[in-house]
Symmetry: C2
Subunit: 194 residues, 2 copies
């Protein structure tokens, strides 16, 4: 009989758990069910995680890692205007949310907050923070080079484009329209940044 090992096994454990969560709210997950769904024995699970909560932490950091390590921001082109660049940025970032699902992102924040010393993913988180900061810095640099006036803002405020998308996806569940993205740029981002 074939045996899955290492990452291959890990991924199918994650997949099975994820599959189960679509049916049951994950507060009620059991190792028994997961083992069954993943066609393995509980032993394999207990060896890795003391509780289902720990498993979930790993699932979401895994999903988040795949997300954060993506080259999404590398696709960003110079559209010729700050406005165009912002629209492109929001569109790409919203695309990430559409792809991975708002609930995963939501869960990531949730799990993060539950973890007293969110020890396991600080490195990941700071790395992703840096990527986000760089994306903004790049856009603003281009704008300045073009001669567009850019305000000096505090570091936290620079994250506003991402915060807007996040909030929109967390608080309001309706699909985010292109129109809304453009409104974010025209009503919020441009007045704030330029």
């Amino acid at each position: 009989m074939e045996r899955r090992r290492g990452d291959e096994l890990l991924e199918s454990l994650f997949d099975a758990t994820f599959q189960l969560m679509k049916e049951t709210p994950h507060t009620n997950l059991t190792f028994q069910q997961i083992a069954e769904a993943a066609k393995t024995s509980r032993t394999v699970l207990y060896r890795r995680w003391p509780t289902t909560f720990d498993l979930l932490q790993d699932i979401y950091t895994y999903k988040a890692r795949k997300l954060f390590e993506g080259e999404y921001f590398d696709e960003l082109k110079d559209t010729g205007s700050l406005r165009g660049d912002f629209i492109q940025l929001l569109t790409v970032y919203q695309g990430v949310y559409d792809e991975i699902g708002a609930d995963v992102m939501n869960n990531y924040f949730y799990i993060r907050m539950q973890d007293p010393d969110h020890s396991r993913e600080t490195a990941l988180h700071t790395a992703s923070l840096e990527k986000h900061q760089q994306a903004i810095a790049h856009i603003l640099k281009n704008a300045k080079a073009r001669g567009e006036k850019i305000k000096k803002l505090s570091k936290v405020t620079l994250m506003l484009p991402f915060d807007l998308i996040r909030m929109e996806n967390m608080a309001r569940q309706a699909n985010i329209s292109k129109k809304r993205l453009i409104a974010m740029v025209d009503e919020v981002l441009l007045p704030v940044f330029s």
Copy 2:
């Protein structure tokens, strides 16, 4: 032997559960433990909720109700300037977060998203949304009466002050300083609204 009934009982069930959650991540809560902590029998719990998840939904909507039905916005005075009004608004709203805890708010959003048809608290949610909209409308009306110029913005954008506070509390766990609140007003809200 004395028996707690109705709301009194309900509240002490909530309290006991809440107490337990400080020790255990709530993914691992059991009815057994809760019943023990609340000094009652499991029967009482099963009569009310099929799973711990359902209990949690009720807890957070209860907590949220106490929050949303509060008269926080009624305290808002006319400070004489839009800037002052915004600072006051953010301070009051941040105070709410400090009081009730960012994790409760986080959980509220979380539970809300898990619930496919968040059926139980839609009324509550729209009521609170209205309160928020009114608070903003009031501030803007005063500003206009004073002769300050106010931009015409889409309905969703009007929620920006609250979105900022929410995001700040969800994504970044450090305590929000007065300085940061003022920066939000000067760097974001004033450029957007006026």
